[in-house]
Symmetry: D3
Subunit: 163 residues, 6 copies
């Protein structure tokens, strides 16, 4: 078992994927943006019925997915064929007293390598954008549980996060 | 109390900071990249004494800080005067059985608005880069507790995250 | 009278503005995205109040303003202090049988040179984004009357487009 | 009939094109940069045959075509196989008393989706660059009639702008 | 014999490669970063056994290869499948009294055109980064002998630099 | 004497320049693009007076200077106030039988740190662009003698390359 981005001498490089097949691949990632309940209510009320904060975060996350190879040094450039983001707000209730927005990013490509990093990048930049747009009222927001949920396609096969 | 990035009609815009003074500002953010203990040991052993995984993550985080206004839509461009990243590995012990790397990002500017987003961006992209470089051995890594720890300077004054 | 971006030998360069004062500057530009009346109604119904076509165009225009110096070769980089975009839909009426969205971009900086190009870039990229999001139903849309409306600040003084 | 970039809930996303065939596609767009006759003469004398204003605009438009997916949020990244720009100056004559440069952009790809946005982006950024390089002598220039002229290839078939 | 990036009228364009086959291609480029012997020793000692200066230069060169089409105007975007950089330090000896680091960049793609420019870009940006990180102690460093060493694949066939 | 981009633990960071004064700074760099005499003649005939190879290289170098902080990891972003490039062709003569183009880049800023890297980046990317546009006829071209010639301004004072 070894870290494939490190070459024989311990130096990083962008691993050769030239021999891999072009296959359909998908990755789904999630993250949770925690905030005060009042902040979440402001997002829901102020940002039009469906709220501009999330509209901006959605555009930001989608655009960021396309920049992944420009952010994560050893990532290969890929022709993304689909990027989408979903936001699921959770207001405090008896089962869970916390307020947060669950962010889910889905990315697809037809390519030689997977899109895990693109899905994770979409989720984190969407989260950062929510922070930016609400920080004037809630500087203590935090992003948690950013992780890959599932990937399909490619030689290493399918994978699902086990809780 | 209102969300300053939304104008009167609920649309987003980049708020006017032209009237603000140019002052020295600093922001510190942190995040925690959780992984299997074995993965953390590989990073420490394989990546040379101090390990290339972290060297790459450090460069990635610093470069990402400079791209913040290109990632987060309503962020103002700023002349960053300092960016640094620190990594503190934690191996499982009796007090805390989890393995993780604590990432801390510090950013400074002399400008009209703060660098909170830049510090948070540095931390998250460093985290994503660690994920990318280790994902072949540990796809279940997750990034938690990404938050602003402290900011100083600017009209809104100093602020510290209260645990 | 000469073209200041061309040097003595007819070659382009980024003109020296180092001796100029840093002053507050503003530029306002507009453009008109023409379309079928049915397309405009779809934007208003499907979008506003859900408003997504214009929400996406707005984010795109604001982000593009920040990239102006990366698009227009001889533009100086500038610290923009404000960017906003407004959209005014016009449905056919007796006075004017055409359907269009009037796009207005406003940009401010405190700097050594003006933000005319940033305002024009915001407007055109917002227009291109509207085209992109509606092209499946109306490939014949066109962007007209992209022009600087007004600029204030700087040594060359204020200027207003005369109709 | 619906706007394909909006999902079921009215939110924007990058539509899935993974199932589409990779075919040869071409798009041609045009726009018209209007100016004072004197400005056009200056471009021709100072520039053509030294031609630098148009040489710079041409490089800017070609480079911008490659950035389209970074400017227009829901655009897919594409491997462009050709980009070219042509400029046709028109000096006032009896039939048409206006002075302008007709800009034509042609883009080709072998891909899963069309290059309309790339052709339109090349034309508009070339136009903005002409404005930038001449604005010291003619701030009233305006860009009109930016539109798709023709597209070929892809499932939706060929399309031509009907005057 | 003609310069293929210039069209019939002497204007530059991105040449049409749509008809070319997608084949595996590789390019290798080198360059030599000359410096004072003392500077080279500092890199070797201070930057950990293999030294952080080179770790940063390596990341910079790899990331730059991915930006080639955004730097060199007439370059086609390409899906790089591999990028690596090697550094070979040379301390003064009897045969050669100069001190330098030989930089070698290797790039591969499966595409319609070659990756010569990507390999050359990786080498030069790695060189610039070494300069940047050492300039406080040795402003007189210089980059020499940047050239393509070898290319394979594509219709024009294999090619090797002849000394 | 130490390498200022490496912190106490040998890790790279973007050094703090917040305490430095904003002063006028200039840097001049040069490089030499060697080629076959026939290639240089083609550039001069096909290009100059139509000059397109150099016109494209000039735009590329100027745009690259503005991207320096996005290419060289530890570079600070700076508001460049001037960028220019000059090309001096040398055809073989008795004193020097080689054919080359001497590239000179001049960059100015009013800022807290110098523009050496920006001048060097302008020169190298201009050189790479010449290579790209001529490589179909002369793959053996090489870039030599890339170096800082002079810098003025800043606390470390003026500096000139001593031959």
């Amino acid at each position: 078992m070894s870290l494939t981005h490190l070459d024989k001498h311990g130096r990083a490089h962008m691993v050769d994927v030239g021999h891999k097949d072009e296959t359909q691949r998908e990755a789904i990632a999630t993250g949770r943006m925690g905030m005060q309940a009042e902040t979440l209510r402001l997002i829901q009320v102020d940002g039009l019925p469906k709220g501009d904060v999330l509209a901006v975060a959605q555009v930001a996350g989608i655009m960021a997915a396309k920049k992944t190879h420009d952010l994560v040094p050893m990532c290969h450039p890929l022709m993304l064929t689909k990027v989408s983001l979903d936001f699921l707000p959770h207001l405090p209730d008896e089962a869970d007293p916390s307020a947060y927005i669950e962010i889910t990013g889905t990315v697809r490509t037809t390519g030689k390598t997977g899109v895990e990093m693109e899905a994770l990048t979409a989720v984190t930049v969407a989260g950062l954008t929510i922070y930016d747009m609400c920080k004037a009222v809630d500087r203590g927001m935090r992003l948690d549980a950013v992780r890959l949920v599932k990937k399909t396609g490619g030689k290493s096969g399918d994978w699902t996060y086990e809780l």
